[in-house]
Amino acid sequence: MPNFDQTLNEILNLAAAYFKVPREKLAPDDDFFKTLGIDSLQTLDLLTRLEHHFRIELPDYELQGISDFRTLADRIQARL
């Protein structure tokens, strides 16, 4: 099982690759809506990709109020 830092790094890598943002421009505490320039539907797309990548189920209400990668990683880590 990956540790928290590995999980966070994988999320940043996946987001950078899929939304075509240079990886070095993404930081753990960034607001991913702003940094990635995505809306709620694209966020659901990201959620789907994260679920497949980590082979977890993450109900979308778990994302309520979350906008930074670090908290997102925390939610995912709790389900690994």
Binding site: F33, I38, D39, S40, L41, T43, L44, D45, L47, T48, R49, E51, H52, E57, P59, D60, Y61, L63, Q64
Partner: protein, 287 residues
């Protein structure tokens, strides 16, 4: 140009007959019949929100289905938009139509829309053709209900299914609950409906609703391959089997319309719709 086989589908300026292939191209929907397979495409920007325009075109489509059944064996429904299959009912239109009219009139408008939509959904559900929803991206609310009328759901791995209606103070109104109850265990139905959370394609397949989960961008290709396979079977036998296997819960569908209209009069619905329509939040599709 060859004389076309069968009966024409569609009417108006957008309708064309090209070398025996029958096509209709509207503003929200288009369809064509080729090699015994009808393909119904959704293409209303930005996310295939289904409103009065889509309904009017869908009614034309439904009216033609029985005639097309003589020359077709399968129907594929898919979206041409990258965002997904459909975001469901056009909530902005629903909200605007319910404003500035007395509550009783608003309910009458809603009931009329529901009755018309149910007739279309029921026609597809009961069609003798084997029907396939080829879906990707968002499959929400009314979009999910459209997929549910189909005999098979082929989902690409980006697909995400959700009934968010409770967030608006409503229940699904286009046959979602009766058809979920027909096809799934009640615990899964409760999970989908009462939490309003979305399922990915793998979860939907585990629940027993998605027939196949395929790679990104592959749903339509696989649906076409499936339709080609279905064409090898005797059409009458396939239609007879479908009628025997797939009951249509007409009584529950009627009850759903009544419940929806009853709930629509509650103030929570107006507040929920207003919140969605006027939202500048980055997350209107998240709970």
């Amino acid at each position: 140009m060859r004389k076309p086989r069968g009966t024409s589908i569609g009417e108006g300026n957008h309708f064309a007959l090209v070398d025996g292939m029958e096509t209709f191209c509207g503003q929200a929907l288009s369809w064509e019949l080729k090699d015994g397979v009808v393909e119904l495409a959704l293409h209303r920007e930005p996310n295939n929100e289904l409103g009065s325009m889509a309904l009017a075109e869908a009614e034309k489509f439904a009216a033609s289905l029985e005639q097309v059944g003589e020359v077709a064996h399968a129907l594929i429904i898919y979206s041409k938009l990258p965002s997904g299959f459909s975001a469901g009912a056009d909530l902005r239109e629903l909200y605007q139509r319910s404003q500035n009219v007395p509550p009783a009139q608003a309910v009458r408008i809603v009931r009329d829309q529901l009755e018309r939509t149910h007739r279309v959904m029921n026609a597809i559900d009961a069609s003798p053709l084997t029907t396939i929803a080829a879906v990707h991206g968002i499959v929400f609310g009314g979009g999910f209900e459209l997929a549910l009328v189909c005999d098979l759901i082929i989902a690409d791995k980006t697909a995400r299914f959700c009934f968010p209606e409770l967030r608006l103070g409503l229940i699904p109104g286009w046959g979602g609950i009766p058809r979920l109850k027909r096809d799934l265990g009640n615990a899964v139905v409760r999970d989908l409906l009462l939490t309003g959370r979305s399922f990915n394609a793998t979860k939907l397949q585990q629940a027993g609703l998605a027939s196949q989960v395929v790679g990104e961008g592959e749903a339509l290709r696989v649906a076409r391959a499936t339709a080609a396979q279905l064409g090898k079977f005797d059409h009458h036998t396939a239609a007879t089997a479908k009628k025997f296997i797939k009951p249509i819960p007409y009584d529950e569908l009627r009850r759903e319309i009544d419940l929806f209209c009853e709930l629509f009069t509650h103030p929570t619905v107006d507040a929920g719709l207003r919140k969605f329509v006027e939202s500048t939040d980055a997350q209107p599709y998240l709970p």
